[in-house]
Symmetry: C2
Subunit: 656 residues, 2 copies
């Protein structure tokens, strides 16, 4: 009735799934899950993900009834109102008790796989026969929409490959989506599919008439030692209402007579809206006491652990504290001009492998491009069960979208793990929405995107990113770095690791960059943009500014040298991260890019979009306006104007 | 040997899959597929898609040997060179005989589903018992990478749901991906998965020792009348080389001694590179004669058809001619200020349903949001087999990525079909790379993206697009329209339909727009941007320009009214499509946005990125810099500054 009252009051929301899964919610929150409503962030709690996020009222009402202070009756009354703790889809950064932000379908399944992976990994690293610190299950509810999305299949394939037996995926089989009965679009044998993927498949025929069946299914899942569990629960969408069993119940309010009838049917006609019978609270809040006791017990185990296993406990405490150790950044390598040249993906490999030694939470991998992305921790094993669950390299196969969403799950496990996820920049397209959700849900995932421009050469336009940088830069909160050499790459890692509440994308070249540039430094990356070189006198402004990022910064520097030989005063600026630079003081920004210097050229092998902000009205943007082309790297760069000759010529034409 | 010679010569490329699938390529091009190398675009040819696009050498060599003039020996010698007809991944716009552009894995499977759907649909509409005009198969080769990608599972689920029995998907089961043996990431039972999805699954154990097994599999697929066919062919990657059977064969060249040994093994040591034995050409080009005969026969059927079924033939010829009929645009509705207000998604619904009557090729649908996107052709049925294969509404379920790639297949069937594909703007993220491939491969898909801003309200930030407009605008060639009212929506459709060689995205509001504005018109959309209103005198410049798109254009107009009441000279500009406006003459652009008018304000409920180009250095950009928020539409708009009050105040502060 709380679900119905909330929808009627808000005149918005999605009651159908919440009503159909009410029994499941009740059993999970009352009888099955381990959690402490008084401390929603207790480390060893069971994790719950509502992949079908539109059914958030199920979760909000369960949180309320179970005693989470984050969802009061007033919050239910404020459903979908601006500033409320009960937005239209669950958001972990808004409401305590919500683990991950869901709504875009299918991703919650992958988030849950990430949470379960985090548990399995940490359990292998830290648990001792006499002291079990990490031991929880991960529950996820998905609907027909989640089941249809490709990402859920990717994640399910991985979950079985990884033998995540403590993952319990509950499929709300209500046979309806927005456009109607699933028979119009979805007629595969989903149980057989999950069996083929390697899951333990259990069917519960009608949870509305037999809650015991669902409890038994959970018991059977508890007994499974190898496979993740797929519990197919046949439910009736919009149960209670006249709309029940139809797609009309998916979202929207109830008509007055329907409402009246529903209330009569459950003998609720005399109750005011939002009434809760006290015995319901009593029943649901048994969990509060139980949860507090569990947490207490866990802390005594932790105390014992610290005494008996002090060394392991140190690392565990680092993770509990967020994963960073003071001075970790000193592990980052640095480079000088005399060091051999490399691609920035090569510098990245060195950074990653160095910081892995001092950051015990750094785990991650690539979507079948470990060797190309150079995103592999050579001193560590692959995460693999049962062989090496402690392995810190995660092999995702060719599954970019789920890689990103699984990384979100790992980050939001809240246990100090720092996930990295690597692929070619072009395939950031495949994971775009999951990257967005990293930013929205404050998941500090480090994305490593190599092969970052037409400079990748032969593979051609299908693999050459053009607009991807612009697209990523437009994602709110996301930090996008395009370092020019080794030192800037180290700086990008410094910032990416420090920013634990937002994701970063480190964008790297396939091809070798010309040199380690004089003037770059890791610490300058902290300002997003800075002056690399300038031959104008003190208190004098340069005649022209060349602004570059990544592999084009050295082209700017070489062009500047030629112009300086012409007798010109030239400044070169590295704009390694727009968002950070945009956040600097107006004074600093005008110091780097003085408004009075009207002649400015930006050089970046990507879409010109957004560069006007930095070059000003009279500036020139050297970018890529069309798709790239298959060809040797230097030929391709030349075709699109990324040569010292062309940049120098453009600059000269402005100076003349 | 041609494959090997090409890789050695280019010092680039992917020989592994091409060598492993050589027998399959031979059988398909020599014994199985119907096509005419002299006319690669013959309507009734079998379609072939290489979803594992990196194996393009398989296709290039088959095209060459079969007699396609598009791939000569010189082209093979120019593999991966700038400007060649043999880029690193196959591109339909570069090489005749390539149907679709592939490389980003998994999408080819969905393209093939689109091609097969197009065939099934047109066959149902046009074939007569005595005159079969449409009757071909669609073949697709996918590798392990394609099989892992979520999109292939989405597309496979739909293919079985649609009973596309003339689709033959050949799975190159070589057990290797870039990072190693598939056992490290891919251990599901893929045959069982495809059976669960509803496919006819056939296994061929070793095509290298028994080509007959593959031929038998094809025969068995020909006999299948209900299910799409999944032929699992066990192959050895990099067959012949010392690297065979390992991931090292995936890409890269061969060492000298390996090369020598390979040549010895096949008694090729005395041949020069790129040598082809004449009997091989003779053997392979039997197909040329056969194909020409088939095409001739087809034309005689077409002649008979035109005589016997003149009415149907008229429509068929329209499709053959590209799908447009002169004057089709007169079917578009128009609106005046007195018409009732609606959301632009509502205006879109009217446009779509009107043009469907005069454009016989218009087919499409939505990813389970037909009712929300209002993208449904009410006078037509759902595409469904066997019930109504002639239906022009396609229900995709919650599968955005495959929807876009299937739409690419439909467009590139080359039969005058004009596919539309609809979802919420936020979920354009899920299909980003397929949209890019529409643009790259010249597929004239019409994307309909509704719920286009924070203005969608209650569903909150997970559903509120912010950066999606910027991201789409950065995609080369893609036309992005954000119409403000009914007439601009009609104009967007006019341009989207006319542009048959590039995709369009029509971006539409969920909420009602304030009015049909005086001054908008469908025909002005052709210029991308235009002056909506201006109270300055002739030969006088306005003091300020307010620039808006979509639902914010009326806010600009209302603010302008207030400013005009203040006595100010104010221009309002609609910038409905940036790319088209950017392509206008400098003169026209300066006429609409005179550089001399320094005071300019843009108002768009999306990322500010890119707006500086239009407002200039002194202009103000009213945009959304962070994620949105769950709340009633007007509350949300107010929070982010999209009110007449705020826009007026910003403008006044600039004018003071």
């Amino acid at each position: 009735m709380l679900i119905i009252d909330s929808v009627q009051n808000a005149q918005a929301g999605h009651p159908g799934m919440a009503l159909g899964m009410a029994e499941v919610g009740y059993i999970l929150y009352r009888h099955v899950m381990k959690y402490n409503p008084k401390n929603p962030n207790w480390f060893n709690r069971d994790r719950f993900v509502l992949s079908a996020g539109h059914g958030c009222l199920l979760q909000y009402t369960c949180l309320h009834l179970s005693g989470f202070s984050s969802v009061q009756i007033e919050d239910l009354q404020n459903l979908c109102k601006l500033g409320s703790r009960t937005p239209g889809h669950p958001e972990n950064v808004v409401t305590d008790g919500i683990e991950v932000t869901t709504g875009p379908l299918g991703q919650g399944v992958a988030n849950a796989v990430g949470l379960a992976l985090a548990e399995a990994h940490l359990a292998a690293r830290f648990n001792k026969p006499d002291a079990v610190l990490v031991d929880h299950r991960t529950y996820c509810i998905m609907g027909d929409g989640c089941a249809m999305e490709g990402i859920s299949n990717e994640a399910a394939s991985l979950a079985a490959h990884w033998k995540l037996n403590k993952l319990i995926l509950i499929y709300d089989d209500n046979h309806n989506t927005i456009d109607g009965d699933t028979k119009i679009t979805f007629t595969e044998d989903i149980s057989a599919r999950y069996e083929a993927l390697g899951w333990n498949v259990i069917t519960v025929d009608n949870v509305h008439s037999d809650m015991g069946g669902f409890k038994n299914a959970i018991c059977s899942a508890f007994n499974e030692t190898q496979k993740p569990n797929f519990i197919r629960v046949k439910t009736v969408i919009g149960k209670l209402s006249r709309k029940e069993g139809t797609s009309k119940a998916h979202h929207g309010t109830f008509e007055d007579d329907d409402l009246k009838e529903m209330k009569q049917n459950v003998k609720w006609e005399d109750r005011k809206p939002f009434h809760v019978v006290p015995s319901v609270y009593r029943e649901m809040r048994i969990q509060t006491e139980y949860g507090e006791a569990l947490e207490e017990e866990w802390y005594s185990t932790l105390n014992y652990y610290q005494t008996k296993y002090p060394q392991a406990a140190v690392e565990f405490k680092i993770l509990l504290g967020g994963g960073l150790v003071p001075g970790w950044e000193h592990s980052l390598p640095s480079w000088s001009k005399s060091d051999p040249v490399d691609a920035t993906r090569g510098y990245s490999e060195k950074c990653l492998n160095q910081i892995a030694k001092v950051l015990p939470g750094l785990v991650g991998g690539s979507a079948d491009l470990a060797s190309s992305n150079k995103a592999y921790l050579h001193d560590y094993q692959d995460f693999s069960r049962p062989n090496s669950p402690w392995g810190r390299n995660i092999r995702y196969g060719v599954r970019e979208h789920s890689m990103a969403a699984i990384s979100n799950g790992i980050a939001l496990h809240g246990s100090g793990l720092i996930p990295f996820a690597a692929t070619f920049l072009i395939f950031s397209d495949y994971m775009k929405n999951a990257i967005r959700l990293s930013a929205l849900s404050h998941a500090g995932v480090i994305y490593i995107f190599t092969h970052d421009s037409i400079g990748l050469g032969e593979d051609g336009p299908t693999h050459q990113p053009v607009e991807q940088l612009a697209g990523l830069r437009a994602v709110p909160r996301l930090l996008v770095f395009r370092p020019a050499d080794g030192n800037e790459t180290a700086g990008a890692y410094m910032m990416a690791v420090e920013n634990r509440d937002r994701p970063s994308a480190i964008v790297l070249s396939r091809q070798k960059v010309a040199a380690n540039l004089v003037g770059t430094s890791a610490s300058e990356v902290k300002r997003g943009g800075y002056i690399l070189s300038d031959n104008s006198l003190k208190d004098e402004l340069p005649e022209i500014i060349l602004i570059g990022t990544g592999s084009e910064l050295c082209i700017c520097e070489e062009s500047a040298q030629r112009l300086r030989e012409d007798g010109k005063k030239v400044r070169v600026v590295s704009l390694v991260c727009w968002r950070i630079f945009d956040g600097q003081s107006e004074e600093y920004k005008d110091f780097v890019l003085p408004k009075k210097v009207r002649k400015r050229v930006s050089v970046e092998a990507g879409s010109p979009q957004g560069w006007r902000e930095y070059v000003g009205e009279e500036g020139r943007v050297i970018g890529v306006e069309d798709f790239g082309a298959s060809g040797a790297y230097l030929d391709t760069f030349k075709k699109f104007g990324f040569t010292i000759d062309n940049v120098t010529q453009v600059a000269r034409s402005m100076l003349d």
